[in-house]
Subunit: 358 residues, 2 copies
């Protein structure tokens, strides 16, 4: 999804792809086949690039530091990115900055969690995503699985929250910052299925707080590119930081069709040190619904049904094989009436997921 | 510009490119190097493609017919496309259909033009574009050049027109048709420099006539894909057909940022036989201004100035070397106030063309 704005801006992308058929390699002519875990593969991919950026946070921090030492301009840099890679580092830093987080603690053994108190959330510091590496624990019996997993762990309070929000900012290499409207992100089992932009009925004071948190993090951590701050809006009207992502993020996909400048375009502008684009919504409401692998196996054929049913819903397929629950695309509807926009987006996504009407 | 919607729709493009650095080859991974004038190059490019389409009309008609005989599905087909390739064929057919055209005649020798009457427009039947192959002739002395050019010629009356319009429709392989708002196309020396969508102050009766003409041509000529009908709005309130293009057209570039579904997306949908997308404008006004090669040589550097000056104008660069007058990109502004939209689009384009304020 970075390629369309790159085309418009006249920026040529070079890709490190895990195989010739992964989504991005299907549309980026200049790609190297290799893995982000291998330093030599990374070196080959970045050798002629003036700027290096990422569409996930799984490149090992030590490799990033080596690339920087070898003169490559990684944006965001490893000292920023580590906060999206390691939840312990992130919690320590945000706590030092006074950014509101759930109560948390590092844990080395099950007794540490018992001392923290049940129920709670145990997470691996590194490598988790989309609900993986996250366990809800209610008693000592629930601790075998997390403590059987590799790597450091932390524990966090189970926050009673009203809903999840996401605050996105783009920060350019020049220091310029723009922010997007704060959105509501609806999740099941840690997987986002629907985003409403802007978050409906959000108290303006809470919105301002969410935007301020995202700007503070971007500036203090020296983020370059897009930053998504996943937030809890608690039952008692607080805004707490859940997770960080330093890249275009699923909760910002609405901006492709719903904002004057998409998160992908602003990520590119930011890492290239270009002036950032307007984040103004094109319509009062945008709804993005993920297409999670479901009963529909032949997405290309079903696409026809969805396009016919909703001629003004934008369908984005990622060129991935359908597997149960896998994100294989998304749809976005925009408009003036939220109920109507929700209905159209959900209808289109249901046709592409289960093949029948939602 | 076909690649961004192809990415979203999950359609993989294979390209026949004249060289590895042409615009489209920069962004379409799967490309063959060769020329559209060579049948074997064409055969190599289309061999695995379920559908063959075009971004210009220069593929020789006899090669297209050979590809069709060999089982390839060309959309539009050669019998439709010939009307965008050969102005004599086009004029004959439109006249037969009762579609209003300027008065015209085939001419074999200068005396035929003199019999038609001066002043007039002499055109080559094939191969002209952007003002090339078109001569305004005022007397017999002006006829040396056209009659020195190769190929058949025709003559047309010099139409006293108020302005030029363009009517675009998309027609799917299934027969479904959608049309875009009729736009005003502003030209200098046969080269479009600015498009306003919709055409300001267009008499609704003339707009309806323009749309009807475009639909009639699409249906009667069995066009599949986008059809652009360039029109004259005459001083005496008639709508006359100037030229046809059967592909996404410069006068439709506004739709990338200004319509729910762009002409490129609807071209793809149409040739793939998919349902067509809504052509609704996103804002009351869209203005597209071409970036014609000018004083600015380093477009990539100047892009920064333009993006900073107009954060909500969308800039599209084509990855082409700058040559005087060459179309190397375009910009689009949208909004509710036409004067403001015009000002912003022209400012951005001026910065990218001449480097200073318009």
């Amino acid at each position: 999804m970075m390629q369309p704005p790159a085309i418009g801006l006249g920026i040529r992308l070079t890709l490190l792809a895990e195989g010739p058929d992964v989504s991005a390699a299907q549309v980026i002519a200049d790609h190297h086949i290799g893995t982000h875990a291998d330093l030599d593969d990374l070196r080959r991919a970045v050798q002629d690039a003036p700027v290096v950026t990422f569409d996930h946070e799984h490149v090992p921090p030590e490799h990033l530091r080596t690339l920087v030492q070898e003169g490559h301009d990684c944006r965001p840099g490893p000292d920023a990115l580590i906060h999206a890679q390691d939840k312990l580092v992130m919690r320590r830093r945000l706590t030092d900055l006074g950014v509101p987080c759930p109560r948390w603690a590092p844990v080395a053994e099950p007794a540490d969690v018992e001392a923290f108190g049940f129920p709670a959330i145990v997470k691996t510091a590194r490598g988790g995503y989309d609900g993986k590496g996250v366990w809800k624990v209610e008693s000592a019996a629930d601790l075998d699985e997390p403590f059987g997993a590799p790597g450091a762990l932390l524990v966090e309070e189970l926050v009673p929250f009203r809903r999840e929000l996401s605050a996105q900012v783009a920060r350019s290499a020049t220091g310029e910052i723009v922010d997007y409207p704060v959105v509501e992100s609806r999740q099941v089992d840690g997987v986002c299925f629907e985003v409403i932009a802007p978050a409906p009925n959000l108290d303006p004071a809470l919105e301002a707080r969410a935007r301020a948190i995202a700007r503070t993090i971007a500036e203090e951590l020296d983020v370059v590119g897009m930053l998504a701050v996943e937030l809890f809006e608690t039952d008692d009207d607080r805004i707490l930081v859940n997770e960080l992502a330093m890249r275009p993020h699923n909760t910002g996909h609405w901006s492709i069709d719903g904002a004057v400048t998409s998160q992908f375009e602003n990520h590119l502008r930011a890492v290239m040190g270009l002036p950032l684009g307007a984040t103004t919504p094109r319509q009062p409401w945008s709804v993005m619904v993920n297409i999670l692998g479901g009963a529909v196996e032949d997405l290309a054929a079903q696409r026809e049904v969805a396009l016919a049913a909703q001629p003004d819903v934008k369908v984005h397929l990622y060129g991935k094989a359908v597997k149960p629950g896998r994100k294989v695309g998304h749809v976005t509807a925009v408009g003036e009436d939220l109920e109507d926009v929700l209905r159209r987006a959900r209808h289109s996504a249901a046709l592409l997921t289960d093949g029948d009407l939602a």
